[in-house]
Symmetry: C2
Subunit: 598 residues, 2 copies
């Protein structure tokens, strides 16, 4: 069996910890049961093993190429996998039954997608992008747009992308120069260049639905003039099929260190390569209202950021499972103090330092998965909230947690991949084993969908202070509840609770102190350190949650959970101390550094 | 100009800090002067820029291939570079004048080699391996062996390798199965398989001199039966050229994540592919005495380990220089609080978080270079010591520092490459920029020449306790001298000194505590954490040394040094606190973890 995630761990997290089964008592999910959730996971595992995992390395070694005619050449296994995925109906997971969806809880759909990401991150990205695109249109599009664009995506026939970045505006969306002009018939004509567009072109689907950020006349400067425009590769035909070729064309494929199976593209929009309706300019359709494009996109971006966290976790997780298997099977060396140099060599998992590296991986990847699933469950809680106030509160909590859900796995599950290589030794550095690819693939995640640095600015500069710190307060209340429960449980749980409580209280207090004189340059001087401290404490909290969910349960699986929690509280949590000290000192070293001094 | 190292920084470290010029007052180096040292560095920079740097990425994208006839196909630029290097005479750097060497101080030769490693790590490896091989033979070989094997290597005509690992014995040399049998004529016949042999085959040189670890009959079990045998690819001819093809053949090339320009090979020895003297079995020549092979190799391995540290540093350094250049040139975003969204974008080096990432890189790579040069200068001090006692003391100090010189840059200069990618954003993840290659190349370094874990065992299990901890005491005395000088200097230096002193004293005290009950399983349970704590403190000490060497000097360069020292003491040194706490707690989490619980 090929590796992906651990089903045992998923079952624990979903059913024994998060009690996802209880969601079926809510009206939205009333048609579901644990059996239907399990069936989704079983189906996913089957597709992952048959169609995704087998070509993971093949796709890496044979990356997509742009043919002279401007089309994309790719190994056929990717289309076969995506066809199988489309036929499975899994892509309809969270969508409403009214549009043909399975109306699954987000947390179950995310678990399913994470499985595929672990099996083959690059191929799964086409699915993830299409889901995100369709979800945005299902939320903000007109009925007609849903009929025209969302339905073919849910049928697996059309794929979707998000077109934000431009060559001169990667992280700075205020500086995009793509423009859209309204036409007399209500459509738009779009011109510009987009960069870093994943899945931006390929021959995998009948059509590609691009969601393009473009400036439209009349808005205030910067991001307030941005609108969101649907720009399909082929204009929709009256019969629901694809019509005329639109004026959006591939100008280049980016050649990446990893994640090579996913095309990453530079696109020219409206440069006259194609002439829909007899003239240059890409035909586009406005989503929602003009100048509100970024707010629609941000809604999607929160989900995309949690999705990046899952991607990072999935890559770390599958590397961890492979490292455990390798360490159990590879004989090398002898126990400390062995007297006979000719006694048989032992599996390297017998060496304490190898177990340390495996425990660290376990703590990172299971922590990352817990974090992603927790946030996904919050999405379900928000969707099914009793009233608008409750939904708003959960939304605030999600806002605060999203930078962590994105950045923490991107950092630490990448570290897990690093350790998986180290466990493999020289073999891990060769392309005969998978772990080096997982590491290269995972290195993308601290960069895209908002770099690590941008997540830090978002968290400390916006999320923890908005509405007077209400979101931070909600998170603190949840952590306090876990701490109280752990203290009541006593023993190691109480010890962990004390450690977490002290550090979290310091960080919260510090948040106010950093903003005391309201100068962003002072408050944000070490925002990445704040982000990393916050992240480690959130994951410590979720390890404490897991530890409590384990309780007194017996068996190897539960012993493993207890040891991973212990590892996190003894080896990882204490590292936060100096980070918080640094923040408390209002250190200005980086701020004072003069560029001329490098 | 292509990037490599900073000549300004090298000049500072060599002349302003280490006072390498004073070496010319010692007899061995009396023929030299700062002018000859500078000439070596100038020549290196010229060769690096003309012959090494230009094909660095080309070699990565076109890795060596094994032809059907068993020879190696490689881009021609590698041979051109190595020919230029051979002609330059640089390879003779540290060798005695009596064998045609330049008799340079090690510290200067290392600086020269590091420059080439930064320009092109993979091509430079052929030179480094040949130097190490020749140095070992120059020390332990007979006059005849020196004449036959060392001279052609110093002429750049023959290359050398080190053949230690085998498929079933990577880190565990006791388990090698290659055997050598003495023949009536005094030569040996060797049979076995070797794995991970860098430079193990190629067509770059007329001949390849392999130094092979093999077991010879009669020794005690394990490592005590290992001898060191010269196995040339071609037997030496009477005229000094190459004679009959020896029975050592390439069976496969390893395909690696990085460092692709250096062939890494599996070799069959004595399998009858060639029949020197009419029969199967590779002809070999014993170095020194039987069963002492590992001790000769360990002498070389210490140098090789310092060499790996330089390699890691060089890769981190060149990535840092490229990141600074990119950050100064890439416009993106605006200063915090900028009111006008249409004001011009600023270079990203204006963003504090980008400067944090650059400062971290600067602290790592300049710290790593200081560490490597310090150790190299110790080698010179040892060679030119006044008496045997002084030489022995310096040798002990080097023994203690070697695991750090190898492991610390392998960890932190790899981290520097990670940050160089992050500074480049999406572009850094593409193969259009160099930094992703440096990162892939550098990932090798925590693995080869003794993994990170093995360095930890070597440091805590052997180096700091041998001779009753004498080596550790010598290091402590040097650190104490720096601390005293810094306290006398006052100001920031005194503050840094206090921080270092407290942490170092704790670590030294702890060393005894860990070994209190003499149980290696207890003492070594967290040896990697010990290694990392030790390394960070050693580099903190060397940053304090640099800070003192800067003194009150004025100018951008010195301001940069001061800020990097400040960064190290404020951001990096405090991280050691929780690591030492963990060690002090005698944490047994990894030791107690049961393999069945993963």
């Amino acid at each position: 069996m090929s590796h992906a995630l651990s089903r045992r761990d998923l079952d624990f997290l979903l059913y024994e910890w998060l009690d996802v089964e209880a969601l079926t008592r809510r009206e939205r999910y009333a048609e579901h049961s644990r059996e239907t959730f399990d069936a989704v996971l079983d189906l996913t595992a089957d597709i992952g093993e048959k169609h995704f995992a087998p070509h993971n390395r093949v796709a890496d070694a044979n990356e997509p190429r742009m043919r002279p005619d401007g089309t994309v050449e790719m190994i056929p296994e990717v289309k076969a996998a995506m066809d199988a995925y489309g036929e499975s109906g899994l892509i309809t997971g969270t969508f409403d039954e009214s549009v043909g969806g399975m109306q699954l809880p987000t947390v179950v759909a995310r678990a399913s997608m994470a499985w595929l990401q672990a099996a083959n991150a690059s191929t799964a990205s086409y699915a993830l992008l299409t889901t995100a695109n369709a979800a945005l249109l299902a939320e903000y599009g007109t009925d007609d747009q849903i009929e025209t664009f969302v339905k073919p995506m849910l049928e697996g026939r059309w794929f979707g992308t998000m077109c934000l970045s431009e060559p001169q505006a990667g992280s700075s969306l205020a500086d995009i120069t793509t423009r859209a002009e309204k036409q007399d018939d209500g459509t738009y004509r779009v011109t510009g260049s987009k960069m870093w567009i994943s899945g931006g072109d390929h021959e995998l689907s009948e059509n590609i639905v691009h969601l393009v950020l473009a400036k439209t006349p009349g808005g205030r400067p910067g991001v307030h003039s941005i609108s969101l425009i649907i720009v399909p590769k082929y204009l929709p035909a009256a019969d629901g099929g694809r019509g005329e070729r639109n004026d959006i064309t591939l100008t280049g494929l980016n050649h990446k260190m990893g994640n090579r199976g996913t095309t990453n593209t530079a696109l020219a929009i409206g440069d006259g390569t194609h002439r829909p309706g007899g003239r240059a300019g890409a035909v586009g359709y406005l989503v929602g209202e003009e100048h509100r494009g970024l707010s629609y996109m941000f809604h999607m971006m929160n989900e995309a950021r949690i999705g990046v966290g899952f991607l990072a976790t999935a890559l770390g997780y599958v590397g961890y499972l492979k490292a455990v298997e390798y360490a159990a099977g590879r004989a090398q060396g002898r126990p400390l103090g062995a007297k006979d140099p000719e006694s048989p060599q032992v599996p390297i998992i017998e060496h304490t330092d190898v177990r340390r590296m495996l425990l660290a991986q376990k703590a990172y990847v299971e922590g990352g998965l817990a974090l992603g699933l927790y946030c996904s469950k919050l999405v379900d809680d928000q969707i099914t909230a009793a009233d608008a106030d409750e939904a708003a509160e959960i939304g605030l909590l999600l806002d605060v947690l999203t930078p962590i859900a994105k950045s923490w796995p991107s950092q630490w599950c990448l570290k897990a991949n690093d350790l998986a290589i180290q466990v493999h030794g020289g073999y891990g550095y060769t392309r005969d084993y998978d772990v080096e690819q997982h590491y290269r693939d995972n290195r993308l995640n601290p960069i895209h969908e908002g770099t690590h640095g941008i997540q830090g600015m978002d968290l400390l500069g916006r999320k923890v202070i908005m509405q007077g710190g209400k979101g931070l307060g909600l998170l603190t209340a949840r952590i306090a509840a876990t701490v109280a429960a752990a203290r009541a449980a006593g023993g190691a749980a109480a010890d962990y609770a004390d450690r977490l409580d002290v550090a979290w209280t310091r960080l919260v207090d510090l948040t106010g102190a950093l903003w005391a004189d309201r100068d962003p340059a002072v408050a944000l001087a070490n925002s990445s350190v704040y982000l990393e401290s916050f992240g480690h404490l959130v994951v410590a909290w979720l390890w404490l949650e897991q530890f409590l969910a384990v309780g007194d349960a017996q068996g190897d699986f539960y012993d493993g959970k207890r040891m991973a929690a212990r590892y996190f509280f003894r080896h990882e949590l204490p590292q936060v101390g100096p980070w918080i000290d640094l923040l408390a000192s209002m250190d200005s070293t980086s701020a004072e550094m003069n560029p001329a001094w490098f």
